[in-house]
């Protein structure tokens, strides 16, 4: 199956397993995605190899960043029908609370979609959506 076919399949069925299987980094950190109506919720289950602070223990800040970056790229592909992986230009990440060794969630919002560049906001939380562990903002280039 080509990338375009996988994307179409995912958009039609809401089943992200094929798409995520095709992205090794998604498997590496354990990213999952579920669709609720038009909304996408990204999920990062607990995983020992994602730990970056052995004392708390807490998830590596880079993994939280990677999780949010990849969530934003998938969100953009799904909502904009971009038939390929959008190119990330920059990424700005604020860590608000320690990301403890537990399940983490993320949701994205398209702030602005231009002809060539999209601006996406990402929020990540663990126990409660009202207590985000990190917020981020990313720019993606939609064409070469």
């Amino acid at each position: 199956m080509t990338t375009a076919e996988v994307l179409r399949y995912t958009q039609e069925t809401g089943d992200f397993s094929r798409m995520l299987n095709d992205i090794p980094y998604a498997t590496f950190i354990g990213l999952e995605c579920e669709r609720f109506g038009d909304d996408l919720i990204f999920r990062l289950p607990r995983k020992a190899s994602n730990i970056g602070n052995p004392i708390l223990p807490a998830i590596h800040g880079g993994v939280i960043g990677g999780f949010m970056e990849l969530s934003a790229a998938i969100y953009l592909m799904m909502s904009q029908e971009v038939l390929r992986m959008p190119l990330i230009v920059d990424f700005s990440l604020d860590y608000l609370r320690a990301g403890l060794d537990r399940e983490t969630f993320a949701e994205c919002r398209l702030t602005r979609q231009g002809n060539r560049v999209a601006n996406v906001m990402i929020t990540a939380w663990q126990k409660s959506r009202n207590e985000p562990i990190a917020t981020a903002r990313a720019h993606f280039l939609l064409e070469d």
Binding site: S49, G52, H60, G62, L70, D90, L93, Y95
Partner: protein, 159 residues
């Protein structure tokens, strides 16, 4: 501290981070306020299956680790400093099948905050990504002594 001591400390530190182990990060160079880490290429961190280019998240983790570990080379004593924020610019895709290096420095150290910058590259002078970060100083006492001793290599001396 000698460069060898710094290199040993950073190596011991990143060896305690499971994610750094999973990525296979190694220390290439360490000196006063200067640290270079290496991220080897591996299929498991590919972000674009069509091109084999690794995902930006792996580079973010490389740069976060380099920026967070350069404190060991910049401060007189080992302190664990949580990341406040990171700003990452991706200048070009990393070429597949080649390692990515990250060179970090702390360009301003205050009582509460450490400001870092970091460059990721494959060939010298051709940046793949650049990152500025701020880290909070929570004091060395916030980290258990047993862990600090493990990093400084004093674990055995103190019984």
């Amino acid at each position: 501290m000698t460069d060898t001591t710094l290199m040993d400390r950073v190596t011991r530190f990143i060896d305690t981070l499971q994610q750094s182990q999973a990525l296979g990060l190694t220390v290439t160079d360490a000196a006063h306020n200067h640290l270079v880490l290496c991220l080897p290429y591996s299929k498991q961190i590919i972000g674009n299956p069509e091109t084999g280019v690794i995902h930006g998240g792996a580079i973010t983790t490389l740069m976060d680790t380099a920026s967070g570990s350069v404190m060991i080379c910049a401060l007189p004593e080992f302190e664990l400093c949580p990341t406040l924020d990171l700003r990452v610019d991706y200048m070009r895709a990393a070429e597949p099948h080649k390692p990515v290096y990250a060179r970090a420095e702390a360009y301003r150290v205050t009582r509460n905050i450490i400001f870092t910058r970091c460059e990721a590259y494959q060939e010298p002078g051709k940046a793949v990504a650049q990152c500025v970060g701020t880290f909070m100083r929570i004091g060395k006492e916030a980290t258990p002594k047993s862990y600090r001793d493990l990093i400084t290599g004093d674990a055995h001396d103190n019984g």
